[in-house]
């Protein structure tokens, strides 16, 4: 599967190995991957992170972003995994992996996927600490990052 939306934890290393093997069989000479982790907070330890999503729209939005990347860079493969539900500090939140004949395309496509997942995939993060819970604010620079792909 190329897009996985799940609450379960995943093994980024195992997923990357599986993806690379398939990509190699498909003519790839380069694989790039990114894994996002739940970052603990400096001022007050994180009890957990809660990620809400919009079932249906999530799959549709990510598949559209993935299809756009595959077309733009003639990729040999592209994988997106994103979790929702309750996550602990240090947990993997999501990963993307891209495969292409050459590394330039694989790097660019991975950055494109990350930029779009940040502000166009319907997920909302909430940080829960002993002091209470707060929704993570979107960042202006994440929105601005989309301009370079216009």
């Amino acid at each position: 599967m190329d897009v996985l939306i799940q609450s379960e934890v995943f093994d980024a290393g195992a997923e990357l190995n599986r993806f690379s093997q398939r990509a190699a069989n498909n003519g790839a000479g380069a694989v790039v991957s990114f894994t996002g982790l739940v970052r603990d907070l400096a001022d007050s330890p994180l009890s957990r992170m809660e990620i809400e999503h919009y079932p249906g729209m999530t799959e549709r939005a990510i598949e559209a972003i993935r299809a756009e990347a595959v077309t733009r860079w003639s990729l040999s493969g592209a994988l997106v995994i994103h979790r929702h539900g309750q996550l602990a500090a240090g947990d993997p939140i999501m990963m993307v992996a891209t495969a292409a004949p050459h590394r330039v395309d694989a790097f660019a496509a991975a950055e494109f996927l990350m930029d779009y997942l940040k502000s166009r995939a319907p997920f909302w993060k909430k940080e829960v600490t002993a002091q209470g819970a707060s929704w993570v604010d979107s960042k202006a620079e994440d929105e601005a990052a989309l301009d370079r792909w216009a």
Partner: protein
């Protein structure tokens, strides 16, 4: 017209329900927001600053000026924070 209206994250928390069926004659999303805002205070609280609210029509990101004719599902939520 009957719409399924969904709310996510702090928009959901302020309105108090994740989804509801709404009977309305609103022509655009902005009209629907104005109508809900006059109904009850919790909607006014959620829609107080529309620069912090995004809308999707039938699971596609849209805008407040978009027309509702033919739409079945409307969703309101804050800017997304995936990745």
């Amino acid at each position: 017209m009957q719409l399924e209206v969904l709310y996510f994250a702090w928009v959901r928390e302020r309105i108090g329900v994740p989804r509801e069926t709404v009977q309305t004659e609103a022509r655009t999303v902005a009209d629907l927001v104005a109508e809900l805002t006059t109904r009850e205070e919790r909607y006014a609280a959620a829609f107080a600053d529309l620069s912090t609210v995004r809308v999707a029509l039938d699971q596609t990101l849209s805008g407040f000026e978009a027309e509702l004719a033919g739409v079945r599902e409307v969703a309101f939520f804050p800017p997304m924070t995936g990745g």
